[in-house]
C-alpha cells in the first residue's frame, strides 16, 4: 500500500494505491487519524489505484468517519474500482458517504 496526501484549498486529498488488508490497515488508519488530529475536516479519498480492501480497511474508514463526525467534518470517496466498489456496495457505505466517479467531481461536491 502507498498513501500520498495533498491539499486542495481546505480539502485533504488522500490517494491510496495497492492493498488495504489487515496487514496494511493500521498504517492507513494512522495516516487518516493524523490528518484529523491536524485539524483537517474534509477528506477526499481517491481510491483510483486501490485494488483490494478488506473489512480491516472499512473498519479504519469507520473509525476516522466517527472522529470527523464528532468535529462536524466529513469524508468523500472517489474513483472506486470494480472490486472495491462491490465491497462498498455490500457494506452499504453509499448510505454513509458521498461516493463520486472522479476526484474532480468529489472536489466540486464540497
Amino acid at each position: 500500500m502507498e498513501i500520498s496526501t495533498r491539499k486542495e484549498g481546505s480539502v485533504a486529498v488522500v490517494s491510496v494505491k495497492g492493498r488495504i488488508d489487515a496487514v496494511t490497515a493500521p498504517e492507513f488508519e494512522k495516516g487518516l487519524s493524523a490528518l484529523v488530529a491536524d485539524g483537517d475536516l474534509t477528506l477526499v479519498l481517491n481510491f483510483n489505484g486501490l485494488e483490494y480492501i478488506s473489512s480491516a480497511g472499512l473498519r479504519s474508514i469507520l473509525v476516522t468517519a466517527k472522529q470527523l463526525k464528532a468535529k462536524n467534518g466529513r469524508m468523500l470517496f472517489a474513483a472506486l474500482q470494480g472490486p472495491v466498489k462491490d465491497i462498498f456496495k455490500i457494506s452499504a457505505f453509499g448510505s454513509l458517504f458521498k461516493i463520486c466517479d472522479t476526484e474532480e467531481e468529489a472536489l466540486r461536491e464540497i
Binding site: 483490494y52 478488506s54 473489512s55 473498519r59 469507520l62 465491497i87 452499504a92
Partner: protein, 143 residues
C-alpha cells in the same frame, strides 16, 4: 479429508497471512476458478484467518490449519481448523447496515462478508477444535 487433499498448518499469526492466502489461491486456481471468484475467496479467507489470529487464542499461542479438496460440480472444499476458543461464525447477527455513522458498529463486517460470498458454510466443534467447512462454488457471488 480425503487422500488427495492439500493441507497447510502454521502459527496463527499475522505474519503468515500472505502465505496462507497464496496457498488457498493456488488450490482454487488448480480447480479452475476464475479471477473474480479468486478475489472473493481471497477476501473470505483473509476475514476468517485474521479473526483467528486476533480472537481464537486470547491467552496463548496456537496454530491454524487449512485443507483444500476438489468436490463435485467443480466445487472446492476448504476446511479451516484451529484449537482456539469455541466460535461459530454462523451464530453472529448481521451488522445493521441502516445505522448512521455515529451509531454504526465499526466491527462485524468481516463475518458478514464471509456469509455474503459463500453460500455453503458449516461449523463443528470436535475434540477441542473449531472446524469451519466452506463448500465454494466457482460462480462469483457479487464481486
Amino acid at each position: 479429508m480425503g487422500n488427495l487433499s492439500e493441507e497447510i498448518r502454521v502459527p496463527a499469526e499475522m505474519g503468515y497471512l500472505r502465505e496462507l492466502l497464496a496457498f488457498v489461491a493456488s488450490c482454487a486456481e488448480r480447480s479452475g476458478f476464475g479471477q473474480t471468484r479468486l478475489r472473493e475467496i481471497e477476501l473470505v479467507m483473509e476475514e476468517i484467518l485474521v479473526n483467528i489470529f486476533n480472537y481464537a487464542y486470547p491467552d496463548r499461542k496456537g496454530d491454524v490449519g487449512i485443507a483444500c479438496r476438489s468436490a463435485d460440480d467443480g466445487k472446492l472444499l476448504v476446511e479451516i481448523t484451529d484449537q482456539g476458543i469455541p466460535f461459530d461464525i454462523l451464530s453472529l447477527n448481521d451488522p445493521d447496515l441502516q445505522a448512521g455513522i455515529e451509531e454504526r458498529n465499526i466491527g462485524g463486517l468481516g463475518v458478514f462478508f464471509v456469509k455474503q460470498l459463500i453460500r455453503d458454510i458449516r461449523y463443528r466443534r470436535e475434540s477441542g477444535r473449531n472446524i469451519l467447512t466452506l463448500t465454494i462454488d466457482p460462480t462469483p457471488a457479487v464481486l
